[in-house]
């Protein structure tokens, strides 16, 4: 991978993709939980999810849970591939330099 995906490159969108990728295929994440995981404001998160949805990277489902409106987001197949490519791109940068990675 020579150039990063411009859509995923944005930090909040990268975190959204990472949060969704951690789930089993097809699993949805509620908007409020996603907001807590990526630590974003509601408006900011909504805008970034819109960008990812337009790119076909995520699927958004809106319904009502009782009387409360609910928005749920899941990773699309195209998004899973784009995310994998982006992570490969990041690793390729490190592989060239030999910088170790340790997840906390």
């Amino acid at each position: 991978v020579e150039q990063p995906d411009a859509i995923i490159h944005q930090p909040v969108r990268l975190k959204i993709m990472a949060a969704l990728k951690a789930l089993p295929r097809g699993e949805q994440l509620e908007f409020v939980r996603l907001k807590a995981i990526v630590n974003a404001t509601e408006g900011n998160l909504g805008a970034h999810i819109g960008t990812l949805e337009s790119a076909g990277y995520v699927k958004v489902e809106k319904d009502f849970n009782g009387k409360k409106p609910r928005t749920r987001v899941s990773l699309a197949d195209a998004g899973a591939r784009a995310y994998a490519d982006y992570v490969a791109y990041l690793r390729s940068i490190l592989d060239g330099e030999g910088v170790p990675i340790h997840a906390d």
Binding site: Q3, P4, A6, H9, P11, L14, K15, M17, A18, A19, L20, K21, A22, L23, P24, R25, G26, E27, Q28, L29, R33, I37, V38, K59, S74, V87, L90, R91, I93, L94, G96, E97, V99, I101, H102, A103, D104
Partner: protein, 189 residues
Amino acid sequence: MSLSPNEAADALRDIAAVETRSHRLYGYRQGSPHLILWGVLWAIGYGLNEPWPQQGRAIWSALVAIGLVGGFLIVLRSHAQRANRTGAKPRIYWRFPAIALTGLAFVFASIAVMGPAGGRQIGAFIPLVVAAGYAVMGFWLGLRFTIAGAVLAALTLVGFFLLPAHFSPWMAVVGGGTLMLSGFWLRTA
């Protein structure tokens, strides 16, 4: 739009942290209904065990069967919803029944080897095994499982040693209540 190695390393650390958190919250969400279900069944079981101790075996056999079928349906529903969204083919969900059967076999074998045991001893042993299971699960799935297991074990031991005359009502209220509250606590994560 290229990144330096340090920026790439930071980005990978960030996404690893987010993936860990997302996975943990998913585990909490999946575990929550099981804890609530078993909390209700424990409350009923220990509650009925007090006035009808002679019927204990029949009561618990029925409740364990309900719990296993209920747990299996919870897992099945979750898998079916995912399969609907992805268009995946139906699979054989063998893990949940396999785990349940392994647990039951372990408990019955332990009681047979360690026996003869009284109703109060069996009534404490099984919650301690369950508590240990949750505590160990927590090492992979998140601290809240471990805390729930530790609290359940501690309260079971308190009831067993300090309140032997009121053990069944203690476990109905405190044991069942701990499981239910833990289930709701997982949902709030």
